[in-house]
């Protein structure tokens, strides 16, 4: 009996018409597409985008060259050299992050004792040459200057949970 019912079902294409009704209903449903470059969805304040180096408000770079981030980086994306500056403090002479290696895990930010290296919420960057994947110290500091507002705002919002 079940077999006969199945035969009739497949002959009358009942299930096929059910499928067709689903697609035609979806055709008239409102679309949820975000028109990306013009429209952007809100980001979490914990969003992990491109890394940057911050400064203090007086313009002094925060990084003290402790190399904790270099040690903790699971992808070995960070390389640091440091020496004594004329005023006797330790500063980095080389601070490079390879964006091709970086996995945006945020361990460097967590390990940093002076909140110098941070991950900004900026993610839609591009490069036109593979060589540009390595960000040097100047570029990282420039990124930090550029996004200082959103960086400090996001840190403030998240401070209670850290």
């Amino acid at each position: 009996m079940n077999k006969i019912i199945r035969y009739f079902k497949s002959l009358l294409m009942i299930e096929l018409f059910q499928g067709l009704s689903v697609t035609i209903k979806h055709m008239f449903k409102p679309k949820v597409t975000v028109f990306y470059p013009e429209e952007k969805i809100p980001k979490s304040n914990r969003f992990r985008g491109i890394p940057a180096l911050r400064r203090y408000t007086n313009g002094e770079e925060r990084c003290i060259g402790c190399k904790l981030c270099e040690a903790v980086c699971p992808a070995l994306a960070i390389s640091i050299d440091s020496e004594m500056r004329s005023d006797g403090s330790r500063r980095t002479t080389l601070y490079e992050i390879d964006l091709f290696k970086c996995i945006f895990c945020g361990f460097c930010e967590e390990s940093c004792p002076v909140d110098s290296i941070v991950l900004t919420d900026f993610a839609d960057y591009h490069m036109e040459d593979p060589k540009e994947s390595v960000l040097n110290k100047q570029q990282l500091l420039a990124l930090g200057d550029r996004f200082e507002q959103s960086i400090s705002k996001n840190r403030q919002q998240d401070a209670a949970y850290r």
């Binding site: 096929l16 067709l20 697609t23 979806h26 055709m27 679309k31 949820v32 597409t33």
Partner: protein
Amino acid sequence: MDAILEFIWLLIRIGLFTLLPLILMVAYYTYAERKVIGAMQSRIGPNRVGPLGLFQPFADVIKLLLKEIILPKEANRYLFLIAPILAIAPAFGVWAVVPVGDGLVWADLNAGVLYVLALSSMGVYGIILAGWASNSKYALLGAMRSAAQVVSYEIALGFSLLGVMILAGSLNLQAIVNAQSGGMLDWYWLPLLPMFLIFFISALAETNRAPFDMAEGESEIVAGFHVDYAGASFAVFFLAEYANMILMSALTAIFFFGGWLSPFEGWAFLGDSWLRDSSIFWFLAKLVFFMFNFLWIRATFPRYRYDQVMRLGWKVFIPITMVWMLVAALFVFNGIVVRGA
């Protein structure tokens, strides 16, 4: 001299009234396909080139024509280049006998249905030759699948047309349309409902469209028969596939949905409304409806497995059409459907 001028004038008219509208329809059919399938998948579809993306087809065509035509080293040059032409010529050639309105037909053949069947089965030569001349295993597999599929479904297609011929008593496409006059309940989709469905499904298989796109089968054999084609030669295959879809929609409208006849012909209460007049408008409306169904079906169903395609064609469609041919004959014999009227 006059004869030559007349011939050239005829060619110009054919180009102006059949080829150009067809090519434009193909261009905007691809656009409609992307929009409709996008909408059915809750997407938007192309919307960047021009207002609402309306210039997208031209951007695509320019891109395809500017690309290089690649000739594989081991390919048979001559057949490789002639195959796309063989695929597209029948798709356009059939339009010679397709009446788009009362008397609006290039050649009023008495054996129009035979011409349609003969030319539409020519299209598979282009596919087979493309697959063979490419000298690649994927292309050959795609061509073999396509050949087997088209040959199998041609039988079901032909048998379902036999029902139409029994009811209409003619092989002339205009006569077939005129035999369906009297409103939408007099069209042949009603007495030949199974035939109509089988004709349309076989048309999907004939044009190698989803869910019967075994010849392309991009998840199994890359792109099938046109895997080695690029640029303009690929564009011709693309054009042929869509032209075939438009053709099959037109044939469905003519054989089962009364061609240019108005669906409200016999509805007296509508008065003298233009809705009751048979015109090319109704033909185009039916054409667009069936063209939309092609897209709708593609957006809904996954691809058949190869053996299931063969089973469906040989063990389901052909027996049903054979049985319903007898039923159609009984309809005529008992006077339920008056032959040719």
